[in-house]
């Protein structure tokens, strides 16, 4: 068994604002106007009934819900600004108080890049492997199941959780659990992990991210699942991936407010039904490639959209899950590094509480272990660079400067020996093989990933908990089989 290294979130010494108060007010006003006048499509009858019960204007024929501004503002005022997302080991709890940015792994990929360059569909075993890797990397604050458990097509989201928990002591956030029934199983798993109801609510070991559908629409399974999770006190976030030019207007502010309206409509419902439930806001818009129609996350113009998302979340008074990392590159290399730095830095400076995510290529679909190691190196660069600058007497070293004087050198100074040990160099760059040849940083990353996977075995789940989780998922499998048989010819 290995000990899991302490988390190393990004704690910027100073924060920065990117939109001014007037711009944020304009964006919020636009969102309220859309919610009141245009509304959102809500295909779930029980969810529409809940909206109606709490004062929303529901058009049953068109399945559209409109929300008066006063209703939205009153509901959002109940949402907590911060809370704790619990981990299996309390030392890894995430306190969302705005002082630190915790970054998750990326998800939910569907392919694994093999060492020879081949690709294969992902399985539950890959989710377990990636969890073990993530557990050993201090930059990973919490775990998104990085890959889809495609070997369990009917119950993949629950198998992803089943594969994750034994392999990391960190908080797990699902981005695939949808629908009331799977959500109830997920809540059961969380309750088993927490041990008791009070712990489940105070330090929930599971949270969930639910996607909306741009423009201005909700998924019935997503919303029904979200309500089950929120009822149990698990943090629930809503994410919009509105795309400028196709599912959003061809301007960043237009796409931002369209996406924001989707998120706020869903957050409002949760607060109307379960006042004070922990929620988060996640805006990850893209731009359509006008020639291919593809969703692009990383064009130059779109970087600012992610930090605008962070500031909007805070303007609504809730924590954010920021869009950081997530490259369009197909292989590890220059592009993946060059694309990831800006959003991570800006969202850190804006005070994002959580972000996703590290380690996938090809627009969040392709997993290769070394990419997580490489992204962690970039995370460490941002963490070190945004930390407070030390101008203490020891750091100023005036006595040493005086002793060395003009044209001397510092090699023999005790201060040099002590302090050089504290300087942070990348373990991936500037490395040499025993024969002196430079090691390619990508090879160093592959070697580090292999070392971790060979050596790191986090604290296992206790047997009883492991058995109970397996029983819950087995029951879900049986239900799914029965449902499939029932739906058959």
């Amino acid at each position: 068994m290995s000990s899991t290294p302490s988390l190393a979130p990004i704690r910027p010494a100073r924060h920065a604002r990117f939109l001014d108060d007037g711009q944020l007010a304009d964006l919020r006003a636009a969102t309220l106007e859309i919610l009141e006048e245009v509304g959102v499509h809500c295909p779930s009858r029980p969810v529409r009934a809940l909206y109606a019960e709490h004062g929303a204007l529901v058009d049953e024929e068109r399945e559209v819900v409109r929300l008066p501004a006063a209703l939205v503002l009153a509901a959002m005022a109940r949402a907590p600004r911060g809370y704790t997302m619990g981990a299996r080991d309390p030392a890894f709890d995430l306190v969302l108080d705005g002082t630190a940015l915790y970054v998750a792994t990326d998800g939910c990929g569907i392919e694994v890049l093999e060492p020879g360059g081949g690709r294969r569909a992902s399985t539950a075993a890959d989710v377990a492997t990636a969890a073990r890797l993530a557990d050993a990397i201090p930059a990973v604050g919490f775990y998104w199941p990085m890959l889809s458990a495609q070997d369990y097509p009917a119950t993949a989201p629950l198998h992803e959780l089943l594969a994750s928990y034994p392999n990391t002591v960190k908080h797990v956030q699902t981005e695939t659990v949808m629908g009331a029934r799977p959500a109830r199983h997920a809540v059961e798993m969380a309750r088993v992990l927490a041990g008791d109801e009070a712990t489940l609510r105070a330090r929930p070991p599971l949270s969930a991210l639910i996607c909306t559908i741009a423009p201005l629409a909700q998924d019935d399974e997503g919303m029904e699942g979200a309500l089950v999770l929120a009822a149990a006190g698990l943090p629930v976030g809503f994410m919009s991936m509105a795309t400028a030019g196709s599912t959003g207007p061809a301007t960043i502010p237009g796409t931002v407010v369209a996406g924001d309206a989707e998120i706020v409509a869903a957050l409002t419902l949760v607060q109307l039904v379960y006042p004070g439930a922990p929620v988060f806001h996640s805006l990850m818009p893209g731009v359509m490639d006008p020639r291919s129609g593809a969703f692009l996350a990383t064009p130059w113009e779109n970087e600012i959209a992610y930090v605008v998302g962070v500031e909007l979340a805070h303007a609504w008074g809730v924590p954010t899950l920021a869009g950081v990392f997530g490259t369009d590159a197909r292989t590890p290399g220059w592009q993946a590094a060059a694309e990831a730095a800006v959003a991570l830095t800006l969202c850190s400076l804006a005070g994002a509480e959580t972000g996703s995510g590290m380690g996938l290529l090809e627009s969040c679909t392709l997993f290769t272990p070394e990419q997580l190691v490489l992204d962690a190196d970039l995370h460490e660069r941002v963490r070190c660079t945004l930390a407070a600058f030390d101008t203490s007497r020891e750091a100023l070293a005036l006595d040493v400067i005086r002793a060395v004087g003009p044209k001397g050198h510092y090699l023999y100074e005790r201060h040099t020996r002590d302090e050089m040990r504290r300087r942070r160099f990348s373990p991936l760059t500037g490395q040499a093989a025993p024969d002196g040849r430079p090691i390619d940083p990508l090879d160093a990353a592959r070697a580090e990933a292999a070392r971790i996977l060979a050596e790191h075995h986090p604290e296992p789940l206790d047997d009883a908990t492991a058995r109970e989780l397996a029983r819950i998922v087995a029951a879900a499998d049986r239900e799914a089989e029965a449902a499939a048989a029932g739906a058959g010819p």
């Binding site: 604002r17 201005l216 207007p249 061809a250 990383t298 004087g405 302090e419 940083p441």
Partner: protein, 499 residues
Amino acid sequence: MAGPDDAPGSPAPGAPSVTPPLEPIRSHRRIQFLDDEQLDRLQEATLRILEEVGVRFPSDRALEILGDHGARVDRASQVVRFPADLVRRALGDAPRTFTMAARDPRFDLRLEEGVSYFTTDGCGVATIDFDTREERPSRKSDVAEMARIADYLASIGFMWPTVSAQDHGATSQLHEIDAAVNNTVKHFQGMVMGSGPARRAVEMATVLAGSREALRERPPISDLICSIAPLAHDHEGLEAALVFAAAGIPVGMLAMPTLGTTAPATSAGALVVGDAEVISGIVLLQLAFPGTPVFHSIMKAWADPRTGGYVGYSLDSRARYAPVEIAHRWGLPSMGACFGTDAPTAGTWQAGVEVALDPLLGGMAGPELVTGMGLDRTYTLLCPEAIILDDDVYQRARHALLAEEVTDETLALDVIASVGPGGHFLAEQHTRVHMRTSLKRGLTHELAPAGGYRDPVEVARERVAWIRANHHPEPLEAAKAAELTRILAAADRELGAPQ
């Protein structure tokens, strides 16, 4: 092959190409790496070092000037100690802003805090040949090639000699000026050392400007002088700096402290050593020529604790950007330190990850000048595509720092209402109008014929080839070019025969 999407229209055959307007980073979003108390503490430390430890000035002329103005000069050790009030008085004469002019006035750089003009990197010694792709020693023609590329890139505000004109021996620095000014209309910043070469460089600058008076008004070149850590100046550097300052040519004082060898192994200590070197040099220039344009620059590096090798990038880049605030606290323009990866070659993960934060955080610190794009292997190797890759990183940061326009037109509420829930925006007039400008294709989003996107490094190489084939900036007037050639010939005779 086709040119870049944003290429200016092709000129008529034989006509010069249009140099695209400059696109400096204008960040209204600022970040402070040091608070006011820390800045005061650092400044106080620099003043104490200058007063108590001193800085070595191996130049009789410099020692004389400093002694005449009240500095405490030890002739035997050549160490000068500066009373704090002398430092403050001298710095009070230094201008906070000035103009670094270009051959074409539209490319003049009017220095102001918050508008950052970036340069090419310098001064490398090896080149991956533009045609053969073989590594070889750098030469004058490489500077000319890079000047044309720099002229084309809107991200490049002014030019450094990217590599050394090693085929011109002792007068290489003058040949670098010649190669650059014949191939770009932008401002050139040299690294000329020694009074003899500096006098020739001033002659060249006078020819370019038209007269001595015009040279002072709109200097088309500036010069960068490096000190020697710890706490010493270079004889040749001091002599050149005094010649340039006398002519009104802007001089930058650059310190390059290395943690663990030539500076303490702490960032704050290294910055104090570097600041003391820079400030002492600027004090000399202001005492000799009050009001002469100067700028401040500290570029910190590390000694690799295992090998002693020079490391430009650790995981912690704070000390790359903090010196900007130190310069501004003194009331001086700053040259920030960005780019110049330690990666052995361009287009790799390391070459991307090391520089990816630079233009963003460098821009947010608000320096007037910033170096420098286009070299690998810690400022020593020119890979032709490196400047194009660095330019892409620069443009990503520049766009991220642009003010967001939140207007009725960009919010598009009417369009959102008309599309409604569950529709799409593809057929909207608003989409057709704005999609034309909402996606600028960087290197990473060039479509591949077979679907997907092309390898950005390959795209960068093609951009270099396209610029070399198609971009021919307005040439220098023939009479001026001929006069520069005559000055170079005289310099070659006087200072060392060309090889």
